[in-house]
Amino acid sequence: MARKTVFIDFSKCIECRACEVACEREHSGMSFISVFEWQEMAAMALNCRHCEKAPCVEVCPTNALYRDKDGAVLLAPQKCIGCLMCGIVCPFGIPELDLINKIMGKCDLCAHRRAEGKLPACVETCPTDALIYGDFNEIVKKRREKFTEKTIELAKTAERIPLTGV
């Protein structure tokens, strides 16, 4: 099963926070993606990685965390007891405590949107395409292809440059 998730190309992020606002709108006022300003100028959005070996799933005492058919790590609110374990073991500190309901909340890759065949809202909205929804292997393959294409392009132009004065 191809496991898809949201990747970020931080070289393209303009820190507009559209992804945060979109996520917040789709998840009744809580945003599960956060944009950090990094060294004054660079910005980076951080969200759940839906890890291959997800420590959050493994540690959850009530099995509130589980995987859906697309491989997304979801949280069943009725089983969550708010013990905070998942938040502690997640290397990125992703699962958050919903202060009102006293249960955890996390990115569900917009399960309701995926059910309708749509992309997660953050990906759909990102004006610069910094967020990419896809399978790790596919993305890496595409990047390699692009790199090769560019190299060939460059080699072609280099041939055309007359080497006068060298």
Binding site: E15, E20, V21, A22, A42, E124
Partner: protein
């Protein structure tokens, strides 16, 4: 329960993104991205944070729901629509009878074309050309400058051309932050291998993507652009054929830029000479180039000259009249272009037809069936001074907020107090409303329908998605009622009898040459809209302007020679040693009337921060987070500091949404009449939080409490 998905245009910036509003029984519940509409300006339905949060401000608790009449300043009683309309009509009529030039009308770049057409028609039929809107404060120099060089004052190309360019020169414009979805096209060009040159006094989000970054002092643009032209001419990098065949005035340009050697320019602008040379070479040799700018360039006393020089720079490189090239001024609000096209301006009739031209005047006299004034009216800042002198006595303000948006806000407030009569038509209480005599509650953009013109001349129809609250009514309806009550109750173009917004657009089609073929029927059918000029109903619209000739009388571009370098009128001195400049935040918009009523945006952009260079901060003993007081000759403003290398030494950068215009200078550009909001001298000192609170009390409240009293 009926759920609907209605296509609308984003009510915020000039990119004019499309989206769907999801509503249940006329109540908004969410949005959906417009992925399925081809060729719109926001490819694949992308939206910035403001577009994502559009539903929130519609639901603001303090939306205006009923007409109000003032008892005393800031205290109102509710009245009925018929009372309100009657009172407004009678008062306007009385002033017009006396002397129509006692009246001043404000159109709005935040509402549809139709109400803007109607507000200027009302002013003109009452006998005055005193009508203007906030484009005066942002892009007036773009209109006058581009008109002088190319013959018309609009973006000469479209977003597609930015995507196809090989070089993009961004000046005085934090593109990534002000128009994130538009910036997408810059990044796409860059991915293709295009070079990006950014000139800005601040190291912005946009500068981060620059191949060449020119950090010049605020207000030193003339020197910088002349410097680029100097290098291009000296190294013969310009397009000789284009200059010979399609431009006039080249020799004057050659003479004018003579003294702007890279070394001289380095001294004036603070940009290293080598960088200027590199930028000039990169720009001129790219083959296809786009120049884009915004308020950093226009809000100066020499704004018009700045724009003229950019036009000249584009023309000598041959970057006009072809795809992938051109001049792209970026408009801030969703309908700045449209409000200008509709002539919410004191010097022209719809379609930029001069009021001073007897032939054009004759056409409109016959069209509207009244005698018209041929005297150019007052601009916004001029009106404030005329009101101060008692010459202008009544304001009709539609969707505007001069207390926050005009330069030298303290003076504006002083003037508004002096007015005898003021009508404010808006969707929520604004600080300006505190001075109103009559408040007319308007439906927000998404609660009614009409056409809008985005920054790339694209006219689109936005449909009604939700019901307006209470008795709030569409802008066109209010103006048509006022018009009829004044006595302009004929049907046809001579009156104000309209059934809907489409009716008004049909009248616009009849009198505005550029819009002749842009009928409501076509727009409703074609959601991607049409680019004007569109002279007939079978015309597909125009993507790139000036393919064959320019719109100047000779058909050639009038290159501009600006031999004298002028900086800001107010330069730093001993008393005010810093240079103040203003900017904006991606999540805030205009005077924040809408964005501050959205939780998601307010949470992320809660307060303004004054950017200050670390060296200056050390000297003044300021750390990030400290309260400081910024003082200019016009006012004082408390704000928290953010110490950052993003600004040049000696420069203080303050976002303007929270009322920083109490500081700015209202010295005017002589041609475009835009105030120099972007640069003035200031002083900065650390203060305590308590002092800051005290100072804050003196500022106009962003979200005022309009008190409604009984009877």
């Amino acid at each position: 329960m009926s759920e609907r998905l209605v296509p609308v245009v984003c009510p915020y910036c000039g990119v004019g993104c499309r989206l769907y509003i999801r509503s249940v029984d006329g109540y908004p519940v969410g949005i959906e991205y417009a992925k399925d509409i081809p060729n719109i300006s926001n490819e694949l339905g992308k939206l910035c944070p403001k577009g994502n949060a559009v539903v929130e401000y519609l639901l603001a608790k303090d939306r205006l729901k009923r007409p109000l009449k003032a008892k005393e300043q800031g205290k109102f009683v509710e009245i009925s629509w018929s009372e309100a309309i009657k009172e407004v009509a009678e008062r306007l009529k009385a002033y017009a009878k006396d002397d129509p030039n006692q009246l001043m009308f404000f159109g709005s770049a935040r509402t549809f074309n139709e109400p803007n057409y109607l507000v200027q028609k009302l002013a003109r039929m009452l006998g005055t050309n005193n009508v203007d809107h906030c484009a005066r404060l942002c892009h007036a120099p773009t209109v006058t400058g581009l008109k002088a060089v190319f013959g018309a004052g609009a973006m000469t190309n479209t977003y597609k051309d930015i995507e196809e360019a090989n070089v993009i020169f961004i000046i005085g414009h934090n593109y990534a932050e002000t128009h994130p979805v538009g910036f997408r096209y810059v990044l796409k060009a860059k991915e293709r291998g295009a070079k990006v040159i950014v000139a800005d006094p601040r190291f912005t989000r946009t500068a981060w993507f620059a191949d060449i970054f020119l950090q010049h002092y605020p207000g030193s643009d003339i020197a910088l652009i002349n410097g680029l032209i100097h290098v291009i001419i000296k190294e013969r990098l310009y397009d000789e054929k284009f200059v010979r065949e399609r431009c006039v005035g080249f020799d004057e340009v050659v003479a004018a830029v003579e003294k702007f050697t890279p070394e001289f320019v380095e001294k004036v602008t603070g940009v290293p000479a080598e960088l200027i040379i590199e930028a000039a070479r990169t720009f001129a040799t790219a083959g296809k180039g786009v120049i884009t700018w915004a308020m950093g360039l226009t809000q100066h006393t020499h704004g018009t000259e700045n724009v003229k020089l950019l036009g000249t720079l584009a023309a000598i490189c041959g970057y006009q009249g072809k795809e992938g090239a051109g001049c792209s001024p970026m408009r801030g609000q969703n309908n700045v272009q449209g409000a200008c096209d509709m002539a919410a301006l004191p010097n022209v009739f719809p379609g930029y037809q001069a009021v001073t031209d007897p032939e054009k005047r004759k056409f409109f006299e016959e069209f509207w069936g009244v005698e018209l004034s041929g005297e150019v009216g007052l601009t916004t800042v001029e009106a404030a001074y005329a009101a101060d002198k008692g010459k202008v006595k009544a304001y009709y303000v539609m969707g505007e907020n001069p207390v926050i948006s005009e330069a030298n806000a303290n003076h504006v407030m002083h003037t508004l107090e002096k007015l005898e009569f003021m009508v404010v038509q808006d969707i929520v209480p604004t600080p300006t409303m505190e001075y109103a005599d009559i408040v007319l509650p308007a439906a927000a953009m998404l609660e009614n329908e009409g056409s809008l013109t985005n920054t790339e001349r694209r006219v689109q129809w936005s449909f009604q998605a939700v019901k307006p609250p209470g008795e709030a009514r569409p802008d066109w309806w209010i103006l048509s009622e006022v018009g009829k009550a004044i006595g302009f109750d004929k049907t046809g173009s001579g009156g104000f009898v309209y059934n809907d917004a489409a009716d008004v657009l049909r009248e616009i089609n009849a009198c505005t040459p550029q819009y002749r073929g842009i009928t409501p029927e076509r727009l409703k059918e074609n959601l991607a809209g049409l680019h004007w000029p569109c002279p007939s109903e079978d015309h597909p619209g125009t993507r790139v302007l000036y393919k064959e000739k320019f719109l100047t009388p000779s058909g050639k571009a009038n290159l501009a020679a600006v031999p004298e370098y002028k900086g800001p009128v107010e330069m730093p001195d001993e008393e005010y040693p810093f240079l103040l400049t203003t900017h904006r935040y991606v999540g805030m918009y205009h005077t924040a009337t809408m964005t501050m009523r959205s939780c998601a945006l307010k949470k992320r952009w809660p307060e303004p921060l004054a950017e200050i260079h670390p060296d200056d901060a050390v000297k003044l003993g300021i750390k990030s987070g400290d309260w400081v007081k910024v003082v200019t000759r016009r006012g004082a403003y408390p704000i928290k500091a953010k110490v950052t290398r993003a600004v040049k030494k000696g420069v203080i950068a303050v976002p303007w949404h929270w009322g920083a215009n109490v500081l700015t200078n209202d010295a005017l550009d002589p041609v475009a009449k835009i105030p120099e909001t972007k640069a003035c001298a200031c002083n900065v000192a650390k203060i305590t939080e308590e002092e800051a609170r005290k100072l804050m009390e003196k500022l106009p409240p962003l979200i005022p409490k309009i008190e409604v009293v009984r009877g």
